[in-house]
Symmetry: C2
Subunit: 237 residues, 2 copies
């Protein structure tokens, strides 16, 4: 075959690329962000703890989000936690099987939603001290943490770590754990009002005998969409 | 073959996925954001104007960014404009060739950098009125516009649309065109000082005989990284 013809065919049908999804599943335990890892049941890196991930299945997955939701369901039992695309990690070097594209996602759940589905092949690790992960999973965790912290400073994102119903001080503690800094109580309440993603539950108060507090829940329209503000939640503005 | 065995093999080696990159290349003409389209030389949609895009070439591309830069170079002649990942668009329905993953990027260039490389297979269209594009390219353009507008309100992003050297009023006009609103001159200058990504060129002034203005350039460390602020550039804060 003449070289030029061969090159043209090569360009039309390049070598296949391995397509996977990986999910950085975050939860809050002891006021610390934790990453959920799953022990790999197959090669490569069989037996090692890694981000829950797997091949995209074109025969059954509608799109990459659908693949990520399936992988989470299969590996953690979770159904439709809050899930956002983080970005693509790609190249020849990141997967020993060959040139690969991983569509990475991050998901947030209250610990109570995970606890009831816990199995022996899962583990949690403080997100800031994840070590020894296979592939480029450490870099994916780092980028997810950067994204979650930055987004938490101007949006409703952290509420997805919070079990419902919650009091405003409980929600504030979740924001503080996610942002890694304390927030002024008055300006936090003002921000929550401005963002408008929580609503008081009529007639529901927390059990404290001396100082019962109003209980809140997430408004339905913000279960899959974030509420955002121009100015930082911790800016005091 | 027993069904269970077959299923296990299917899970290990799923059908291949088509992997491409697409680039939303934006420039500013007549104070309006424009998208650069390239006439497709191959099927599907041969002859139609579309986002510059193409297969990932595992044999020669280091990663998806490298593929996007190669596609831009091949289709527009541009070398290393400002380029950021937008996200993945995926699924069975978006490409008639089959289940596909497109890693989408957006790039910004001053019109003058494009003009000198212009060829007949390119066209520009006002970004807000892009119609009739193949694949899901209209959705990709919409998401790129949302991202660029939102990021422009708190970062140095729009400077990449601006030919160097520039005066501060020229840079302000580029911000106003990108954000679609006017900005107070005093607070704009304050924001530029806070962001610190431009520097005066010693001894260089624009040619105006009556009111010569200082000329500026982008600092080298911000050619590939954005400078960002917590508070919006147009917030007056």
């Amino acid at each position: 075959m003449p070289n030029e013809t061969k090159r043209r065919i090569d360009r039309e049908l390049p070598d296949p690329v391995i397509c996977t999804v990986d999910v950085v599943l975050l939860t809050l335990v002891d006021d610390t962000l934790q990453v959920v890892l799953a022990r790999r049941s197959q090669q490569p890196f069989q037996g090692l703890a890694a981000l829950p991930g797997g091949y995209i299945h074109p025969a059954t997955d509608r799109d990459a989000r659908d693949a990520a939701e399936r992988v989470l369901r299969e590996k953690t039992g979770l159904r439709s936690p809050y899930l956002e695309q983080l970005g693509v990690f790609s190249g020849a070097g990141r997967d020993p099987r060959g040139w690969s594209v991983s569509v990475a996602w991050y998901a947030l759940v209250p610990w109570e939603a995970l606890e009831t589905r816990w199995t022996a092949h899962l583990e949690i690790v403080p997100a800031g001290s994840v070590r020894g992960l296979p592939f480029d999973h450490e870099r994916i965790v780092e980028e997810a943490l950067d994204r979650v912290r930055s987004k938490s400073s101007y949006s409703s994102l952290p509420v997805h770590l919070c079990r419902e119903p919650f009091t405003l001080p409980q929600l504030q503690a979740v924001y503080e754990a996610t942002l890694g800094e304390s927030i002024n109580k008055v300006s936090f309440r003002r921000k929550m009002e401005e963002l408008g993603f929580v609503e008081p539950i009529p007639g529901a108060q927390s059990g404290g005998a001396h100082r019962p507090a109003q209980l809140y829940r997430l408004r339905d329209e913000f279960r899959r969409n974030l509420s955002t503000t121009d100015r930082g939640i911790n800016s005091g503005g």
